[in-house]
Every structure is written in C-alpha cells, then in structure tokens.
Amino acid sequence: MSSSPALTLPAETSWTRLSNFWSDFRQSPVAVAALIVVVVVVLMAVLAPLVAPQDPYNQEALDLFDARLEPGEVGSGGYVHWLGTDAAGRDIFSAILYGLRTSLIVGVMAGTLALILGTTVGLVAAYYGGRIEALIMRIIDLQLSLPAILLALVLVALLGQGLMQLVAALVAAQYAYFARTTHGAASAERRKDYIEAALSTPLPARHVLFRHLLPNALPPLIVVATVQVANSIALEATLSFLGLGLPITQPSLGSLISNGFQFLLSGRYWISIYPGIALMLTVVAINLVGDQVRNVLNPRRSR
C-alpha cells in the first residue's frame, strides 16, 4: 500500500478515441472518398424537397408533354432536365433524389430494426446457452442458408405491397446476420473472466446481459450494420424492380430502374441508367466505408 502508483498514460477520453479512430480511418483515400459520397448522398436525400426542381410525388405537377425528354432538354417548367424525364414526364434528377430518400429510409429502418431484433436474439442465445441456444442457432443457420432475396420475395408476396410491409420483409430476411454476429461475439465474451466475475458477484441477469455482454459484443455489429443498410437498399431495389416493392407513385431507386427498363432498348437509356448509377454509387460507397470501419476496429490491424 505504500506504493504510489504513477499513471503514465494520459486519460483517454472518448474525444481522443474518436480522433484516433479518424486518423486510422483516413489512412485509406478510397474510404474517405466513399465517406464523402455517403455524406453527399444522405444530404441530398434529406434535403430533396429543397434541392429537387420538381416534386415527383405530385401528379399534378407532371406534364405529359415533358415525357421522355432527353438529358439536358428544357421542359415546360422552364428548367433544364439534366438527367432527362420519364414516360410520365417526371424529372429524373428529382425522382432520383426522392428515390434515394425512400431507399435510405427503407434501408436504415430495416437495418436498425434488424439490428435490434437480431442482437436480442443473438444475445439471448449466447447468454442462456444449452438447448435454447442450440434451437435458436439452428433456425438462424437454416435461414442463412436460404438466399435473403427468396425469403423477402415470399414475405412481400404474403404481406402485400407498402413501405411497412417491405421493411418488415427486409427485417425478417436480414436479422439473422445480426443474430449470428452477435452470438459469435457474445459467446466469445461470455467465456471471459469479467463475465464470470459479474456472475459470481452476483449481478442480476439483465445487468450482465445489457451492461457487460452487449457493449463488448457491439463493435463487430457496427460493421455488419453498415453493410446491412447497403444490402437492404439493394434488396429493396431488387424487389421494387421485380414489381413487388414500392409503386412508382412512391418512387424508390428500384422502382425507378424498373420503370425505365422497358425503354432501355428503344434508346431512352437515361430513365433507367441514372437511377441505377445512383443506386450503385450509394451501395458501393456504404460498403467501402463499412470495410474501412472494420479494418480500423480490428485490433490486429490497428496499432
């Protein structure tokens, strides 16, 4: 007791941790570019009503005389349709902004709900172990062996069209990824001494679960979450493209692509291609950001 412990490390605040995170993240220029794309995409989607020249939801604002204008032409509204218009006279640029909005809402909502559901399921399995764990994990494995798109297709067919139904289908198709990741991380943590110490104190079960197990199982989930948002967006686009997602009156990127698909062969490429590019850019950028976050959080790579 006579020792005077000398702390050599400066106090590490969440601020310094964040700045360390950023300086590691910055190491990859590609990831930084991707992050900029993501930020721009999100901003444009959020600010769509302000940025877009036209409200594509408003049927009355549409003019059939403007139908299928080529990119760069000026329509009856008196402004340039930089990316052209579709068969109903919708400005493609505006439609993309609003479409991004829908896609992001669906993606983030489905991602978040799948995260909450999946994490809970995975945690419960890891904490209780035994038969409960075996049962839950068998179901999860089974589900993961099916393609997510197939599951989502069946669910949408059963639930019917609409934003909420779509989100529900996406959640059901994707929570399993979160559950498996959480279960893996939490079972690894479960065996560590600090959990044993908590159990031998003894702390109440929910305390152990939510204060000890969950926060330590979280880092890998952040990565899965970013990737799953991108996957949700892609999945939603696929469903909408197949005509099972959202109607064109509530355009998402997928329904826009689908909407223009029939004109592709007649040379009016822009109706389909530009939303497609927007979709690809968004999904790829989110994935790149997610990859770099994983690299930085992976203790073996960092430091």
Binding site: P5, S200, L203
Partner: protein
Amino acid sequence: MPAALLDIDHVSKRFVKRPNLGEQIAGLLGAGRKTEIVRAVSDVSLTVAKGEVVGLVGESGCGKSTLGRMVAGIYTPSDGKILFGNAPVAKEQGRRTHKLTTRVQMIHQDPFASLNPRIRIGDTVSEGPVAHNIVKAREADSYVADLLGRVGLDPSYRRRFPHQFSGGQRQRIAIARALAMKPDLLVLDEPVASLDVSIQAQVLNLFMDLRSDLDLTGIFISHDLGVVRHVSDRVAIMYLGRIVELAPTAELYAKPNHPYTRALFESVPRVGVGRKNFRPIAGEIPSPLNPPSGCHFHPRCPFAGPRCKREAPPLEAIGPGRFSACHLNTGGTD
C-alpha cells in the same frame, strides 16, 4: 478448532463434453469423439475456519480453479455439497447456476480479463454493492473512493477505464471490487501469477494487510510454492482432482509426506546461488479424461507398488492436523 466457516463436503465436479452434431456423424462412421467426461475434482473434503487462509497448490489442470469456482458459486458440484455458514453457496436452476450468497467473492488470475474494458472502474467496483443494497446509489461514489484508497489506488482514478491501468493496479481494482461486497471469504485464483515479479510483492503485501485489517478468510490458489508458503496457514496439495496432502504450512514445508509433494518441492527451480541441481519429476501429467487407476500418481511415483494400481489411497490423518493420501502410511504398497 474454531467453527468452520466453509465446509467442502465430499465434492466432485464432472464436465461432460458431448460431441457436437458433426462429431456424432463422424462417430457413426467410427471416427468421431465419444462423450467425454472430465473429472476435474473428485471427492474433495476440506473445511476452512474463520480467519484462516488455506493454500491450494498443484499443477495446471489438477482442479484448483474448478474447486475455487465451486466455492465462489460459479459452478455447482456434481456430487457433495459446499456449505458456507451452514447454507449452500449456490444452487442449480435449470441449467444455470444461481449464487445464493454475496459473502464469498472471487479474484481471478488475469486482471486484464477480469475487468470489463468498457466500464469505468468506479462503476465496476460499485455496481455489485448497489445492486445488492449494500450501499445506496447516492453514497456509492464515496464508498468507491474509500475502497480504492484502501487498496492503494488514488480515488481520483475512479472515472478511468481499465486499459489505463497496469496489471498490478488492475489487480488492486479487482480486489476492491471483491471487498465492496463485504465478503467473509475470498477465493483468490492465482492472483499474482500474471503479475510482474516486482508487482507481486506489492499485491501480496496488500492481501496480507487486508487480511489482518478485515479478518478475512481465504482460499489462496497458486502453483507457486513460495507464494503459498508466505500467505497460507494451511496448504492442500492437489493432484489430478484429489487432495493428496493437507497440512499446516510450516510442517508441510519442513517435512512433506506424500511422494508427490516431495517430488514437487524438489522439482521446482528456486532463486538460490548457482546452478542448483533440482530433480525433475519423471513422466507426463496424465489426462483427467482418463486418470490412472488406484493412486493417480502411481505411474510417476518412485515408491509405487502393486497396491497403488489397485486401490486409491484415502486422505488419512498422519498426525495432528496432517493428512496424506498414500499407501506408504498405511501398511505399504504391496
């Protein structure tokens, strides 16, 4: 002898490793693992009096930690019972173990693993006593400050995270967390084994101070004979799940009885002058999956005879307060 605070009564612990699905299928083809039973602790009895520290010594895998965990209520025994102040420390409920007392606390070997990296050390120390109403939430802060001071840490560190501390400091935090529950009995599982030599002495001194200040009772697990001798009143030597010798510390070190104890003492390198000729024990440590018949030590024992293969020697009194499990004490090995 004063009344026993802890009564370990014919306790055994078996771990059953069932093959998983893949191995079961392989098993059908004659290649996989069968159900394996690890006898981590078999038929151990030991009582610990109030205020006493009992050292538990043995090589790795001999069941020290398993016994310690049962005493700390992390596992329940497969057979026998562990009574703390006449009541069991834990009970089995479904497949989970429920600890029934807060007065037995455990300190783990590796202080880097035993503290939650994402919780401030002040909260680590206070969450147990707050959850059990040992202190009120609004008094927790001063309670923690007091405890940190007691284990030799600056109380102002309580808002820091574990990674900001060295190994020795973390072990102090772990000790503070255990003390916060106002325990009567501490189970210390190799508490200094992972610490640097210069830090070990600090933590041992702290333990000895706390012991006399708080009148603590302890089970001190270690493979380090010197450390155990320094802190324990009595020492139990374990081999492959069984206690083979139990004696007051001074007598044990002066005159070990069991052949394993003797061999162990001779095989340990010591800080002495020059290249001391220590004599290693021959042979491998057998697997607890498949322990030798009779006396578990017979394949390595220089005195083994036919009886040793046949019969397991019981732990019997060989003097006041001294016990040993060897046929040499009871009519020979033939």
